[in-house]
C-alpha cells in the first residue's frame, strides 16, 4: 500500500523575482522516480485548510537521496511553499504519472521549454546526459530574469538557446527556425516540450514534418492527482478516435502527435 510521505526540507531559496528552488530529503521514498513524473504537494500545514488542495509539481532534479523542485510563485499554494525553511516537513503524494521515455538508440534530443515547463524538462536533461545522450535546448521566457532558473540546464546541455519576449526573440516563427536548424544540424532523434500550448502546437507540427519522435508534458489543472476526479482531462487521438483521458494517470507525458491542443 502506498502512502503520502513527510519529507524534510533541505533548502528553499529564491532564485529570481518569481522563481524558487527547493530541495527535500527523499531517502524515505523507495519508489523509483522518473523525469516527467510529478508529486502532489500539500503546502498547508496538516489541519489547516488554506490552501486546501495539493498542488502538482514535477521534479526538477532527481538525486540519490534528495529531490529538487523549481517553482514559480503564482498564488496561495506556491506562496505558502516559499515560506518553508530547512528542517520543516512537507507532505508529498507521489511519484505519480507517466514519465518521459527515451527510445533505445537515441543519441541526440532537443528540449523546448517555456516558463516552469523548463523545470519539468530539466530532469529529463539530467537523465539523458547521464546516459551519454547529447541534449540541446531552446528555452523561452517573458524576460531574462525568468530564465535565470534555467541556468541549471547548462550542466546537461551541449547547447542552450534562450529566447525572450523582452528581446522579441520568442515569436513562433523565430522559434520554429531555431528548432529546424538545430534538428537539421545535429540530426536530432527526438524532441520534448513543456510549458506552453503555443510551443506544443509548434513542436507537434515540426515532428510531423521532420518525422522524429516527440513528447509533451501537459500541465492540466489537477485536483486529486490520483485519477478519480476527472479535473485534469485532455483529448488524445488514438487510431483516429478521440478519447478524453486523465492526464494525471495516462500522462502528464504524452506522445505529442496524440494530443489535441484545444
Amino acid at each position: 500500500m502506498k502512502a503520502t510521505s513527510n519529507l524534510k526540507v533541505l533548502s528553499n531559496k529564491q532564485l529570481s523575482r518569481r522563481y524558487w528552488h527547493m530541495a527535500m530529503d527523499s531517502s524515505s521514498i523507495d519508489e523509483k522516480i522518473e523525469p516527467g513524473q510529478f508529486f502532489n504537494i500539500q503546502s498547508a500545514d496538516n489541519g489547516s485548510y488554506t490552501p486546501l488542495l495539493r498542488r502538482p509539481f514535477s521534479t526538477f532534479r532527481i538525486n540519490e537521496n534528495s529531490l529538487e523542485f523549481l517553482y514559480k510563485v503564482e498564488g496561495p499554494g506556491t506562496a505558502k511553499l516559499s515560506e518553508y525553511t530547512p528542517g520543516d516537513y512537507i507532505n508529498l503524494l507521489g511519484p505519480q504519472g507517466v514519465p518521459f521515455s527515451i527510445k533505445e538508440g537515441t543519441d541526440k534530443i532537443l528540449l523546448l521549454g517555456r516558463g516552469v515547463g523548463i523545470a519539468t524538462l530539466a530532469a529529463l536533461a539530467q537523465k539523458a546526459f547521464n546516459q551519454g545522450i547529447q541534449v540541446y535546448a531552446v528555452l523561452s521566457a517573458r524576460s531574462h530574469d525568468d530564465l535565470l532558473a534555467a541556468e541549471a540546464l547548462k550542466d546537461y546541455c551541449t547547447e542552450v538557446v534562450h529566447v525572450t519576449e523582452e528581446e522579441q526573440t520568442s515569436g513562433v516563427d523565430n522559434v520554429r527556425e531555431i528548432m529546424n536548424n538545430l534538428i537539421t544540424f545535429y540530426q536530432i532523434d527526438a524532441a520534448y516540450t513543456c510549458g506552453s500550448r503555443r510551443l506544443s502546437v509548434l513542436l507537434q507540427n515540426i515532428i510531423k514534418e521532420r518525422n522524429i519522435d516527440g513528447e509533451v508534458a501537459l500541465e492540466e489543472y489537477m485536483a486529486c492527482g490520483v485519477g478519480v476526479c476527472y479535473s485534469c482531462v485532455c483529448d488524445v487521438v488514438r487510431n483516429n478516435t478521440v478519447y478524453s483521458v486523465k492526464s494525471c494517470e495516462e500522462g502528464p507525458v504524452f506522445p505529442i502527435d496524440e494530443v489535441v491542443f484545444a
Binding site: K2, A3, L52, L93, C229, S244, E249
Partner: protein, 307 residues
C-alpha cells in the same frame, strides 16, 4: 470499557454497513486503492453513471476557493454498459457493499437505468443523484422540485426492492419539503447533500475560473450549511440520513452524526489525503471509546436532545 465494545455498524435503509464512513460519488475510484484498503470503509460508491457515454464539461474543470473547491466536471462517463461490464465487476474483489450512483436526464431515464443497475446482483443499493447542478439548465436539478423528486423516487421504487438512497441538492429554499417528497416517493435513505452552486472569477483575466462558468462548491467551507440541513431534515424525517459536504476528519463526521446523520460520505478530503477515510474510522472509534458509546445510534441526532 474495552475496545471490542464499540460497534460501528449502522443500517442505512436496509443496507448494513460495517462503519459509517463511505466515499462521496465522484471523489472516489480506482486509483485510490493504492492508498486506501477499500475493505475498511462502509461501502464503495463509484462516480455517478449516465446512460450514454458523455464527455463532461470543458476545462478548466476545477478551481480552489477559500476553504473549498468548485468543480464543473459535469459527470464524465463511459455509459451504463461499460459500468455494468467493468466497474461493477471490478468492485467485486472487495468485501464491502457497492452503492451505484445514477444520474439521468429524465424520469424515464432514471427508471431505465435503475432497472438495469438494480438487475445486477452485485449492486447493493442505488443512489439517485437528483442533485447534480451541472447538467441541467443554469444549474437547476431534479431535486429542486418537490413534485419531480417525488416522481423520480416513486417510479424507481416500483422497479426495485433494493435500498434507494436519494441524494438531495442543498440548493433549495426548503430542504425539508424535498426530503419529505423523497420519503413519500419511497426513499430508504437521504444523502444530505451535494455541492452548493457557486462561481469564482479570476480578476486578472476577468473570466470565470471554471470552464462551465458555474460549478459545485465542496470542501470545509460548506460544512456548516450541510450540518444545518441534516438537522432540518432530521426534524421532519425518520429516514436514515447520510451526511455529505465538507467532512475533512473524524470530528466533522461526528458533528454530522450529532446533527442527525447515521452515516457520512467523504469527497474533497480524499483529494487532500487519499487514505483519510481510514483515519476517520479510527477517529470515530476513539471518540466512542473516550465518551463510552457502544453504538453509533447513541450519537445520531443527539444534539436535538441538547437544545
Amino acid at each position: 470499557m474495552t475496545k471490542t465494545d464499540v460497534n460501528l455498524a449502522v443500517d442505512i435503509g436496509g443496507l448494513t454497513i460495517s462503519n459509517p464512513i463511505m466515499p462521496a460519488s465522484g471523489a472516489f475510484g480506482k486509483g485510490m486503492e493504492e492508498f486506501l484498503d477499500f475493505n475498511l470503509i462502509g461501502a464503495v460508491v463509484p462516480k455517478s453513471i449516465t446512460k450514454y457515454p458523455q464527455k463532461g464539461n470543458k476545462n478548466p474543470r476545477a478551481c480552489e476557493t477559500f476553504g473549498g473547491m468548485i468543480n464543473s466536471i459535469g459527470i464524465q462517463s463511459d455509459g451504463i454498459d461499460k459500468y455494468l461490464n467493468h466497474t461493477v465487476p471490478y468492485y467485486q474483489q472487495y468485501d464491502v457493499p457497492l452503492i451505484s450512483s445514477i444520474s439521468a436526464e429524465s424520469v424515464e431515464e432514471f427508471e431505465e437505468m435503475s432497472e438495469m443497475i438494480a438487475g445486477s446482483p452485485d449492486v447493493a443499493a442505488l443512489e439517485l443523484n437528483i442533485s447534480c447542478p451541472n447538467l441541467e439548465n443554469n444549474g437547476e436539478a431534479f431535486g429542486m422540485d418537490e413534485d419531480i423528486t417525488y416522481e423520480v423516487v416513486h417510479k424507481v421504487r416500483q422497479i426495485t426492492d433494493k435500498p434507494i438512497l436519494v441524494k438531495l441538492t442543498p440548493n433549495v429554499t426548503n430542504i425539508q419539503k424535498i426530503a419529505l417528497a423523497a420519503e413519500r416517493g419511497g426513499a430508504d435513505s437521504l444523502v444530505v447533500a451535494n455541492t452548493l452552486l457557486a462561481m469564482a472569477i479570476d480578476i486578472h483575466s476577468q473570466q470565470p475560473k471554471v470552464g462551465n462558468v458555474m460549478g459545485g462548491l465542496s470542501g470545509p467551507a460548506i460544512k456548516p450549511v450541510i450540518v444545518r440541513q441534516i438537522f432540518q431534515v432530521r426534524e421532519v424525517s425518520n429516514l436514515p440520513i447520510i451526511g455529505c459536504g465538507g467532512i475533512m476528519n473524524a470530528d466533522d463526521a461526528i458533528e454530522m452524526i450529532l446533527a442527525g446523520a447515521t452515516a457520512v460520505q467523504v469527497g474533497t478530503a480524499s483529494f487532500v489525503n487519499p487514505s483519510v477515510m481510514k483515519d476517520m474510522i479510527e477517529g470515530i472509534r476513539a471518540y466512542m471509546e473516550q465518551y463510552q458509546y457502544q453504538t453509533i445510534y447513541e450519537l445520531v441526532g443527539k444534539t436535538m436532545d441538547r437544545i
